[in-house]
Amino acid sequence: MEMAARKMKNHALTIYSITSLIIITIPLLHIIATTIINGVQSFTLEFFTSLPRPPGEEGGGIANAIQGTAILISLTMLFSIPPSLLTAIFLSEFPDSRFKNLIRLFNDTFMGTPSIVAGVFAYTLFVTKFGFSAIAGAFALSVLAIPMMVKTMEEAFKLVPIDIREAGLSLGIRHWKVVTGIVLRSAMPAIASGILLALARISGETAPLLFTAFGNPDFAGSVTEPVSALPLMIYVYATSPYPDWNRKAWSASLILMIAVLAINLITKYRLRRR
């Protein structure tokens, strides 16, 4: 009797889990499928290599957005990795203090910041003085990336056993060199994953770029000029009345999706290999 009841409960739970799984995955699969079906339509060499044409004219591509995203991501890495790394080292490798707790509180608060706020922040700091630019865009993205990176990097350092640090120190190596030459190297796979995941997260951000990087129908000549970016371009093209542009927005979405998926797979693979 009791046995049967337990079996029933078990079954009910299994059915419930499977149903939930289906409910969650169907919309996700739907989004992926729609993006692929609509996206591949305009996948041509021209699409990747040439600049956009005015609406109404057939052809043209999104090379400027691809260039822009590449610039923005590179600059963001430049702006966010060094300070994140130093902060994470400070948080994990130096003695506890009240200052450290303050930094953690600060970091957690920043992590909850809506991305549009990061954009406004960069706008008031840079754009009001120097105008729209790739630098301002990357700065806004860095404001979003740094808290994530600090968190994952600190975790990465904490995962390195204390034994490793003591083994380094016992060789007569100075603390700072043990940290940079041994602990950092030991934490590197996890740090790299953290960086990639943060970049994957921010590479799809549109809001902070709207009034910082702004967008550019042409290639950007330098980092002080406005640049286009895939999410920006998707935003503009998807909301436009031109069917051709709508199709291109799907294709750009597909590119972004593939890129993010690739990053996630790389990190997974790397993590598993450890």
């Binding site: 056993p161 083994a167 016992s170 007569g172 190297r185 030991s186 590197m188």
Partner: protein, 250 residues
């Protein structure tokens, strides 16, 4: 017979817990000294005081004198102390993301040695001394974490040797190993004493008997008895030592 390390009135604490009580002990050059005693009696704490790792733990502190070649280590730069005292840990801990070569070379590199040939030579020689060279010479580029437990431990010994210390401390180096790997390490230790002053922590009584020239018996934070191997085993002064060596306590 030179006194290499002279410990005078050493006391050590973790917070309010005193784990070493007034230790006085002299460690002789080019001999193997075994630190013997039950779990928790302060063996690890004692050797970690010698190379000043103890003080890095949370709320840990130590008082007294440890004279290394006549100089109190508490007045020295800890980095200089550790250059003279190499250490091998209980669990083999090669640096995980480094290959075998780098594991041995890293101590020299981070201490500023740039000469590639000098490093090559030191790596080869250290691996030879650690009796690992023949097993790894073909795969110096592969990860140190893929070796067997005993090989990893010998890699750690090579790593400690490479920076040319004068003293080698082993904290239960064989307790995580199978008997055959453990025997290899024991043989190695006996070879090592020609060049180094060796201190080995163990709670394996037979191991202490086989290996050591001198034995220090610790009990609840105190040094109960210290002397040459034969004397401690044949004719211990203290009742508690006798009981422990017979396996009745601890």
């Amino acid at each position: 017979m030179k006194d290499k390390i002279v410990v005078k009135n050493l006391n050590a604490w973790y917070g309010d817990l005193q784990v070493l009580k007034n230790i006085n002990l002299t460690i002789i050059e080019n001999k193997i000294t075994a630190i013997l005693g039950p779990s928790g009696c302060g063996k690890s704490t004692f050797i970690r005081c010698l190379n000043r790792l103890h003080e890095l733990r949370h709320k840990a502190r130590a008082e007294g004198e440890i004279l290394l070649d006549g100089v109190n280590v508490f007045n020295m730069d800890p980095v200089e102390v550790r250059k003279k005292i190499g250490m091998v840990f209980q669990h083999p801990n090669p640096f995980p993301t480094m290959n075998i070569y780098d594991n041995v070379a890293i101590g020299l590199r981070l201490n500023g040695v740039k000469n590639k040939e000098a490093i090559d030579r030191a790596v080869e020689e250290s691996l030879k001394v650690a009796a690992l060279w023949d097993e790894v010479r073909e795969k110096l580029n592969s990860s140190g974490t893929r070796l067997s437990g005993g090989q990893k431990q010998r890699l750690c010994i090579a790593r400690a040797i490479a920076t040319k210390p004068e003293i080698l401390i082993f904290d239960e180096p064989t307790s995580a190993l199978d008997p055959i790997s453990a025997m290899k390490i024991e043989d190695l230790l006996i070879d090592l004493k020609e060049r180094y002053t060796v201190i080995i922590v163990t709670h394996n009584i037979q191991q202490a008997r086989r290996l050591s020239d001198y034995i220090a018996f610790f009990w609840m934070g105190e040094l109960i008895e210290y002397g040459p191997n034969e004397k401690i085993f044949k004719n211990p002064k203290e009742e508690i030592t006798r009981e422990y060596l017979k396996g009745r306590v601890g």
